[in-house]
Symmetry: C2
DNA sequence: GGTGAAATCTACCTAGG
DNA sequence: CCTAGGTAGATTTCACC
């Protein structure tokens, strides 16, 4: 489970790419794609799981099909910048399930959030009653996703 | 495989949540979490796959472990806005593997891109030799990810 | 790289509402 | 008639050779 920075050869990279496309590929199917025997393909997979290169396997869901109609990016600027404020904000971000990702970036804003909500009303609630109500938040700017040209493509390997 | 907007009950939602956390859960493990028999849990999984609620299963990789050290968000504004320009830009976005996601948003910029590169030099190349060299691109503003507070959490179900 | 036991999936069957 | 639980053959994994 360690991040033992092992070197990955070309076959490893192709195996990772294949498992990003379909995590349910069998060792045999992987092997035929990579010109390996099933046992060798399975062994490589185990090694990549143990090394931490593969963090886990997850189901990709259809947000719209599940009623998550509105996706938005929200840039947040804090009032003051201290470890205490950052901690408090971070805890709030962790807690809210509709905030699926959060980053600190270079540039003006302190945080970029990505959120999925059931509608504009729910997004409005998130912004006003959660973010702007938070003591350290100074300014919030949200942009709603209109169209997704490219959706969570595999990492470039 | 159709998006037959079937109604999902509470058990379905909990099953989806569990499979987001771990796509390799067995039908038996799912069943014991949901107070169902293994066969029923498996049947529900199949139904959710067929209905399109589950789009597929993917391996979550460790970007830093794979040498993708620099992650960035890039806002792009186009010179002029016509179907021809949009098409041309969209084709370029599809082609570049380091651009993993692309959205059109409300607000000033025309596109928001998310990119993973091996380093600052590769990001610089992407911005200058790919984006700014593109005939219809007017302006590019990139922000590098410094820290990820919350990483691709499951969708809120 | 191959093999076999154990685990898992899934199509089919039966029971209950 | 529809939904839940059980069963057996086929498939897959994984420790060992």
């Amino acid at each position: 489970m360690q991040d033992s920075r092992v070197t990955l050869d070309d076959t490893d990279l192709r195996l990772l790419a294949a498992l990003q496309r379909d995590a349910h590929l069998t060792a045999e199917a992987l092997g035929s794609q990579l010109n390996l025997s099933a046992s060798q393909a399975g062994r490589r997979r185990q090694r990549l799981e143990a090394s931490g290169a593969i963090r886990g396997y997850t189901a990709r869901l259809d947000p719209e099909g599940l009623g998550l109609a509105v996706q938005a990016f929200i840039q947040v600027t804090l009032e003051r910048h201290g470890p205490e404020q950052a901690k408090s904000f971070s805890r709030m971000v962790e807690t809210r399930p509709e905030i699926v990702s959060a980053w600190t970036l270079t540039g003006d804003a302190d945080y970029l959030l990505r959120a999925y909500t059931t509608g504009l009303r729910a997004l409005h609630t998130l912004i006003h009653e959660v973010l702007l109500s938070h003591p350290t938040v100074a300014r919030v700017q949200s942009q709603i996703v209109m169209d997704q040209l490219k959706a969570d493509a595999p990492l470039p390997l």
